[in-house]
Symmetry: C2
Subunit: 163 residues, 2 copies
């Protein structure tokens, strides 16, 4: 046991990684906030935009569990949003020939329109955000984030485990 309060002096890499984690937290918070702001005029939020995107990108109606997967959240969480989006006219429920109980969610004209507008807004926003940043740097960042994401799948190392 060392005497100092700080148990271990972390290596530079550990320090940069810690800073990346904190940066991800901050950026995430801002992205949510700005995303909400961006699509508010369309009566959307980031989460609802994401749900519209899940169906729009799939190209055909999708069931709630499918939408949950592509939103990266739980089935029940997605259900909540889907109910709200149906209530507000962005989605409509269609009968599912393959499953009596599990309805499909399809974009209405309103939903399709809102999504197209959101995409257009996002292009403008992203262009401003990336101005002056070399494409190569952005690609590098994306690659690193993807690698970190993959590794975050593997379990947290146990204290002293050798597995």
């Amino acid at each position: 046991m060392k005497k100092s309060t700080v148990t271990t002096r972390p290596s530079p890499k550990v320090r940069v990684l810690t800073d990346i984690m904190l940066a991800v937290f901050r950026v995430h918070g801002r992205l949510l906030e700005k995303g909400d702001e961006l699509v508010r005029p369309l009566r959307l939020t980031s989460a609802r935009w994401q749900a519209l995107g899940a169906v729009a990108l799939a190209g055909s109606p999708r069931s709630a569990p499918q939408i949950a997967v592509s939103m990266g959240m739980t089935r029940q969480g997605a259900q909540k949003q889907l109910h709200a989006l149906v209530r507000e006219g962005f989605f409509e429920q269609r009968s599912n020939p393959r499953h009596e109980r599990s309805l499909l969610y399809a974009l209405t004209a309103l939903g399709l329109h809102a999504y197209a507008q959101a995409m257009a807004l996002e292009v403008v926003w992203a262009r401003a955000l990336g101005e002056g940043l070399p494409l190569q740097d952005l690609k590098q960042t994306l690659r690193t984030l993807d690698i970190l994401y993959e590794r975050l799948d593997s379990p947290v190392p146990e204290k002293g485990s050798a597995s």
Copy 2:
């Protein structure tokens, strides 16, 4: 107005930026999840760990609004965590000579111990996470995230605004 459903064909940079945003969302989710997992044995969560860190790094007791700022969340959100952390013995309230109502939050022995342990766990975790990744790539990623964070401060561009 174009004929296709997709209004604009985004440039490569816009596409990479969009992917980065999605990656930030995914990584954030995993970081929270894994962070909670990492410090669960210490009876902490990611949020509470962060609150302990705010006071530990400051080096002396801090008021609730100060802690809120360094946690990057609202005053009331931080208050909730602080109440819980006091209730559970990680923090203790001290009178504030400069403000009768606004108490200071100080780490207890338990809080200090838990924070030191969390830091040690994090070092092990971060080391595994960064294994094989060039330090330079990590620095590049951090720099890009920081730049994006800065730019996210500026307001969302208005549709067609020239300001």
